[in-house]
């Protein structure tokens, strides 16, 4: 493992500034993974610590966000392995927590709870690629890099996640996939 720069013990300030700039998006991604705001920030904290510890492995020509998202993904998987409590998120609780996050929720037209509920019901293998592509707006190649899976796997998981999310959102009233009109989604 050679680095273009001689590794030093301490991360340099440019790197720290870049890392600081990545925090808002790291927080958003963490929140969409674990839902609970405090637990999400713990995940961000772990991610930042790991990034600083391995900062010399980061190639400045690459996208820092993709790199730190992959660290967040690994940290999250480690956490899930360690702590089964995190894997079983009660959808009701999660949506209540998610509600408490919104600074100005306004009048609910119905989607918010449905959407977050549906999201919690996806397997993490489907949820992560869907969020990375849809919300973080990564390319499939970047998403594959973050999750360390082939691009073809990203493509099929995103597609299946979309279909599964739709089934949850359509609810028990329409269990079968068939001819549907455009439904209001706010």
């Amino acid at each position: 493992m050679t680095s273009p720069r001689k590794p030093t013990v301490q991360a340099n300030d440019v790197f720290r500034q870049q890392l600081l700039g990545a925090i808002p998006r790291l927080r958003r991604y963490a929140r969409s993974l674990v839902f609970d705001a405090a637990a999400a920030d713990d995940l961000v904290q772990t991610t930042l610590e790991r990034a600083l510890a391995h900062w010399h492995q980061f190639d400045q020509r690459r996208d820092l966000l993709v790199w730190v998202l992959s660290i967040a993904h690994n940290a999250h998987m480690d956490q899930r392995r360690r702590d089964s409590r995190v894997t079983v998120v009660d959808p009701e609780r999660a949506s209540a927590e998610q509600d408490s996050l919104a600074p100005d929720p306004g009048v609910d037209v119905g989607l918010r709870i449905d959407l977050i509920n549906a999201l919690t019901r996806l397997s993490v293998e489907q949820r992560e690629p869907l969020l990375l592509v849809s919300v973080e707006q990564l390319t499939y190649a970047e998403c594959a890099e973050v999750l360390r899976i082939p691009v073809g796997t990203v493509m099929s998981r995103v597609s299946r996640a979309r279909a599964a999310l739709r089934q949850w959102l359509d609810g028990s009233a329409r269990p079968a996939a068939g001819a549907r009109g455009l439904r209001r989604v706010v």
Partner: protein, 276 residues
Amino acid sequence: MDVQRPDDELISAWLDGETEGHDSERVQDWLRDHPEDAARVRLWAADRDALRARLASVLDEPVPDKLTQTVWRRGGRFASGWRGPWLQVAMAAGLLVAGALIGATWVRGMPPDLSWTAAPRWTQRAAFAHAVYAPEVRHPVEVSVREGDAVQQREQEQHLSRWLTRRLSVPVKLFDLRDQGFELVGGRLLPDGGGPSAQLMYQDSAGQRVTIYLRKADRDAPAAFRYERQGDLGLFYWVEGSSGFALVGPQSRERLLALAQSIYQQDQQSTAAPTR
């Protein structure tokens, strides 16, 4: 016209802007000729937009000190040299980097020709009308509902609503946004693409304005809430019944969404039970 049906993986990849050339054409041709599949893809796109909108507020939250300190901590201790103004300069620089990252990702993540994700032309007119009239000090509206006493104001409201309803040939309701801190200023008639449109203007106690742009819808199809930024302005737009709505303002997306939801709900209620 014997096109083989593209599978969902390919269609989904197309939605993400991950297909090119022949594959893109195949998907586009298929969706054009198969409205049921096209409707399904519209729902996927709507879900994607809803996810983005739902999680967007996290970006606006202040970063907890604990996380900032983690980044600047050296050798397990917080470096004193980075406290005070230097820390703030560094944070500002960090924000710039974040902005650049977000910008770059957005441009790259833009899907190719997606007629339903690109804002229709009328929303641009809505944004334009806001930009022209919202800064007006003396003549922000054509019909003001804030002059005279309470009785006169009520008469002006009724006049405005009746006049715009007649001209647009769709019911124009004056939404009550006082719960959200916005008072109605008044409204005006505007030229739209093929006919008239209306603009209702609201103002909060700080003098910040939002406008609602109303028009007769091209198609009588309920459509998803859509969010779009045009320069400094954000807009939510949607179609309900025979009316197209666009809410325009410089406020945050969350704030606009709350207003849009309130308008949507009032519109639903008045359609269900016409009381006035």
